[in-house]
């Protein structure tokens, strides 16, 4: 409802806190940011919504509407300035400064995450790796020493950590989440195949590999079934070559 538009004065001090950016838009902003970064690396100074949209894999109207939630940062008849728009998106997401992150559970996946460059780049800095298993402690992964899980609260307080990553087995996930919340973490990225229960005010996002595969399997099954039917009765909603 354009409650935010109200055309406040622009200028650098415009805090105008863009109160409500739709979740769907928030999920796409990082994609736009990545595309813009890629363009900047190729020394492309400006681009149109059409080009951006194609590179991001979305509809151009959707992209323009998404960007319009941040403000009017384009120039009609010209397009968007790559650097300027990059900065505006980064500022809106909050990745102009670094976020300290801890990873709990340094198994195969945890080690991969610790080493993942995309994690440390773009505004995130892994400050600690934790694991409950004694044989992991003291080992060095991705240049960081693995510390005991019991140090969680201390580290979170010392480093002002607000984002935690869970890559422990499913059975331990809820306990880890509880401890994280207790320690003051308010955003959790959960790789364990378990449903986490957290108090209001804490955000949880889950990445579940086997669920993703099962969704693909469902569509594969349907494709196969459809192909069978097509073979059976010849022509039904065909490809219309």
């Amino acid at each position: 409802m354009t409650a935010r538009s109200t055309n406040t004065g622009e200028g650098s001090g415009a805090q105008d806190p863009h109160r409500d950016i739709p979740e769907a838009t928030v999920a796409r902003l990082p994609v736009y940011l990545r595309v813009l970064t890629s363009l900047a690396e190729r020394n492309i100074a400006s681009c149109s919504s059409e080009e951006l949209a194609a590179a991001a894999g979305v509809n151009s109207a959707k992209l323009r509407k998404d960007l319009s939630y941040l403000g009017s940062y384009g120039t009609r008849g010209v397009g968007y300035d790559v650097d300027y728009l990059s900065y505006q998106i980064a500022r809106e997401i909050g990745v102009t400064h670094d976020w300290p992150v801890i990873i709990v559970g340094i198994g195969n996946l945890g080690q991969a995450l610790a080493n993942f460059s995309g994690f440390s780049s773009r505004g995130f800095r892994t400050v600690a790796l934790l694991d409950a298993a004694e044989q992991m402690q003291g080992r060095t992964v991705a240049g960081l020493e693995v510390r005991p899980f019991a140090d969680l609260a201390e580290i979170v307080a010392a480093e002002q950590v607000s984002i935690g990553v869970i890559s422990v087995p499913a059975t331990a996930a809820q306990d880890v989440a509880d401890a994280m919340v207790e320690a003051g973490i308010s955003s959790i990225l959960n790789f364990a195949p378990a449903v986490l229960n957290v108090p209001p005010g804490v955000d949880v996002r889950k990445v579940d590999l086997s669920i993703e595969l099962q969704i693909l399997a469902y569509h594969e099954s349907r494709k196969a079934a459809e192909a069978d039917e097509t073979v059976d009765n010849g022509s039904e909603e065909g490809i219309t070559a």
Copy 2:
């Protein structure tokens, strides 16, 4: 994605519900299946929609509606039979038989995926690991020999693979996807931070770690800003929480 239009099945009604299960429901079915499996392991024979919904972290009405797309597999006044419902969901998703899967890109993440038990359990079998780097080839990861990327087409044909996992750097992702499609793969799970372009009929799901973190960062920023405002002027919007 892949909007399957032209809903022709209007008459059959209750029977043959295979036609159109909403995407949002499809994404939740694996969660229900996991909960049901957990219940079965604890020798619980039946449960109500309320219990299931609580364990899955969803609304009970939503759960019942989701299940109703599969058919009427519950008993009013009683609930759902755990084993029966498990089988029905598994059948609908298509994980009653195993799906062969290949993983391309055996770096840190690829190795973690190959070792991930949740991958191999529940209807998926990793049949091959591929990597273009020569120093990887011949090595054994998770009990499988790493084979050259050039063998892709041969393996896909021999093993009837229809699902492929991409865990290569972003710059190589599109080439790998193209080769996969060429080889006959029609479902791709992409871990590379890149937008994939595939022909219609091919499903792509992406798992992007840095995007997930950025979404969390956005919400963290907003929480911080809100807290600041609350400190500043004490009472603005009636959040009152």
